[in-house]
Symmetry: C2
Subunit: 639 residues, 2 copies
Amino acid sequence: MNLFPDAKILDVDLSNKEITTRVLAGEIYRLYPGGSTLGLYLAIQEMEPGIDPLSPENMLIFSVSAMTGLPISGISRLNVTAKSPLTGTMGDSQAGGFFPAHLKANGWDAIVFRGKAEKPLYLYIEGDKAELKDAKNLWGKVTGEAEEIIRGEIGDKEVEIAQIGPAGENLVKYACIINMCNRANGRNGMGAVMGSKNLKAVVVKKGKAAQAFDRERFQGLAKSVAERLRENETVAGLGKYGTDGDLEGFHQEGFLPTKNWTTGYFPEGANNITGMTMYESILKERDTCYACAVRCKRVVEIPGVVDPLYGGPEYETCATLGSYCGVTSLEAVAFANQLCNMYGLDTISCGATISFAMECYEKGLINDKDTDGLILNFGNHEAMTALVEKIAKREGVGDLLAEGSYRAAQRIGKEAIPLSMSVKGQELPAHMPQFKPAVGLIYAVNPFGADHQSSEHDVFLMMPPDSRERRRLAQIGVWKGYDNPSVIDDEKVRFAFDSQKFFSILDTLCLCQFVWGPAWELYGPDDMVDLCKYGLGWDTSIYELMLVGERRINMMRYFNAREGFTKEDDRLPQRIFEPFKDGPSKGICVDKEDFEKAKELYYELAGWDKETGNPTESTLRKLSLGWLLEKDQVESLAY
Amino acid sequence: MNLFPDAKILDVDLSNKEITTRVLAGEIYRLYPGGSTLGLYLAIQEMEPGIDPLSPENMLIFSVSAMTGLPISGISRLNVTAKSPLTGTMGDSQAGGFFPAHLKANGWDAIVFRGKAEKPLYLYIEGDKAELKDAKNLWGKVTGEAEEIIRGEIGDKEVEIAQIGPAGENLVKYACIINMCNRANGRNGMGAVMGSKNLKAVVVKKGKAAQAFDRERFQGLAKSVAERLRENETVAGLGKYGTDGDLEGFHQEGFLPTKNWTTGYFPEGANNITGMTMYESILKERDTCYACAVRCKRVVEIPGVVDPLYGGPEYETCATLGSYCGVTSLEAVAFANQLCNMYGLDTISCGATISFAMECYEKGLINDKDTDGLILNFGNHEAMTALVEKIAKREGVGDLLAEGSYRAAQRIGKEAIPLSMSVKGQELPAHMPQFKPAVGLIYAVNPFGADHQSSEHDVFLMMPPDSRERRRLAQIGVWKGYDNPSVIDDEKVRFAFDSQKFFSILDTLCLCQFVWGPAWELYGPDDMVDLCKYGLGWDTSIYELMLVGERRINMMRYFNAREGFTKEDDRLPQRIFEPFKDGPSKGICVDKEDFEKAKELYYELAGWDKETGNPTESTLRKLSLGWLLEKDQVESLAY
């Protein structure tokens, strides 16, 4: 083997229904080794600044990595890249499932969609063969129905399907792409971009599992997971209670976003919507992604109401469709989750936008006329579920809320704007900066808006110094401990940035953060290097990988700079700086001055211009991105 | 074990003859994990700016690392830190041998010398016991004699001795510290600092070998060397012919510095002074350092002239005392090498300063009166050996040349200044920037003057992409190949800086570059991580280690900034930019404009201020050096 394998890319021109293929040489692929980074490399060379994300000029890129599909836990993730209609930045989203592994099993590292189909189509891939098929009879169908029709048409159950639901067709700004009817490329509205291209689905024939480069050592690595799973309570807890296992603790400490972030505790309902409650009531079974031993995915069932086909709610969903909205009914949350998966909506932005509407309603900024008669008080779960459907269909008030809370606020009026808990137009996930200021900092500076999966969470720094988590983090140069998580000092900022680079690797190699996260308990940074070596014969190091991670972040910022984004867009909602008025976290908030100082230091660490927040020329060069400076576009950067 | 073991430090106040001990907590030690970085951490907190390097205010620090003495190749290196009398910068120098392992075997990570002894003393260490002893009868003795006397006095042959010779006593600006009579902490004049303190020697009782944390895995790592040695011709060549095995190739390509760098080839003499010629003529045997399988050290013998006790010449020595001076006699080179080891002189600065004097003589800038009657033409090997002795004794013209070529040139006159082939007052080693521009860049920007062991050499980038060397370098993020080594572009600058960080790790962990160098064939970056894990239970990564490496470079630059050093001091001699007039490299030189551009980019990558060349505040913070900014001294920095 040379230094790195080549990438095989499928180019699909939807306007002309032309499909071509190309090979990206390994020596370039190694700089952009899959997933988000590969998508960015392909997009950034072609996409002109200022295009409408929902126009044919936008590109939509599905990508996996050189290692996707190897038989090991946490390895099957699909990345989708396109300019985001929600944020206007470069968009970026990941999902698990079996689709990613099987896309790769057919031999493909990426699919690039350009243009717009005249009529609805879907793409079918079987090995080297790729074909655009008519999707007229799929259009308007919810995901479960569409899956059934496709399987019938293909005449072969052995396929994996990534698709949009009606929300994507209707260009809801936070429509998602969904596979298995319950694994979502949730954020940034990638489903709307797919809808704008009249592309309903991508269907891949199941293929053979990939072979590791050094099978014996690779199997040793894969097996160690089982051992660690047995040893470790936290991971076992994740398996047993899912991500929602965290909800109760957050509430107890006063950091569960509740009623559109007006408070951090939820005494009237938290207990109803925890992972433990779910486990003891509606949980039918646990599900897993390709080759993964963790089995963190929920499958819930409520006969006549919720179908196991659509999985079950994650922590984020229980918060955004639960506590955000003051909803105390787990059944309602599970039903709304099902609607989101049927229609193809991001549960975070959807729930957060509804909670925003509820606060507007309670504050009198909108009334019954605006809401089509819905009584939009916090806690009204019937109104909440009704709104999910209206949004997906863009019916009545749903048409306004389909734009997301930030655009909706601008239409409602000035007073509504501070009530949109969003960054760059994307709604905040359910992790509070008041408790996790490093996460809050990343919410602000992250290129594609607020995201909780772009950096490690501060709480790991509170573990004992000789704990596995701290030892792992030390591998990426971070090992200062904290007694109080709410502190944000120099070392915490470095932690934020270094861990952001690490998560950026995960989104490039298409690895799951619960298995491969820097402080996580199954594998760690050194195991990731072993994965590359044994899995692919890629003789790499964490140093090279961290450069890859940093490269990705900077490619996004470069793209955003061309679009006119600046430092001013790296801000948190005002509410984060206002002390909580009640609950266990009463009096606590993020100190505005500390935050601004942290942001300034972050720019310095990142090598971004102090005035503009854009990568400096030397930062791009350092990351082997000097070629961007030779493009004409660079003149439009505000250096 | 906690995150890192504690360091045990011996504090020796020579003025008051007081010895105390202290412990540096592991959580700090991990940031400065030994060798140069530990020395810097200890020095930088105490040393005031502007002190005279030869005054009692200078500190002299011997340090090893937490891993020194483990039974594996390339692990026994002694670091010495002090403000340099040659350069005026922070000084830094490493040597191999058995002394380092045994210092550590007695339990010590560092010895800090302060003040000045009233009368000559030496320090004797036996486990926890450390004692200052009278050195009156050692003063004035050459190294071989002094060793004998000390062994007699201690009454125990089982000691290792690091000492200065008469050159150090006489404060020759490039006097070295020497152990085994032939392993030198050669550069930066550390021997003069030791002499200025009236400290003749440090003697350590031999101790027991250290135990690895995970013995089984550690032994597996250690054993793999033997295997790789068998496989690898380059390493076998290093073992067989020593470092001087390279001389012939350099000459043939026209990049052997000859006659004070006026030409790059040496047709009349190269063949006489190669490692092959040495092997076939005067080589008696090969020697090794503690636990090392490579055996690269030469031992030569010429009955009645050269005593095997003093080892044999390295490549640098064959060049500086050979081709630099136009000397064609290997015997003369070997004899001059012996004189340097007897008197304690750095062979590089010594040979280079003599070749400078020869050019001055040939150009008529000095004459027979100035040289005490010596006919200083290039090629006069008798004059060359006579000068070595005169320099060590500061006799006649030797007193002038004992100041180094740069200070001597200033005294001789304006026309002599461009003939001093030095950076920051330290003479260039025998690797030509015309052939290795990345090395040349590091000559210029390196904090303690021109040094060839502070970064990887460009030539490795010419190896095939799937070669072991290139795969190793790729682990530190560098893998662009070159057909022509003389190119210096963006990627090459990144290579220079990234490999500099890596070498900086080696000088911190006290590892030998021939065994652990980034492109070297025995171990590589990933093996170094395994060494830390298996050897010490230190759960680290190349990422953390590269941060350590960068931290060291920046601590030095911070120190230098306080001393008034700026960008202006980061320059190469003018001759490097003038085309060769003859030989295979005729017409070749470093392009001045390319070099300035490369330097500018280097500053950007390093996070150093464009105008001053000093680390910016954010760079210090990024490297967990924010505490330096809280010191009063920071105000004297020209930010």
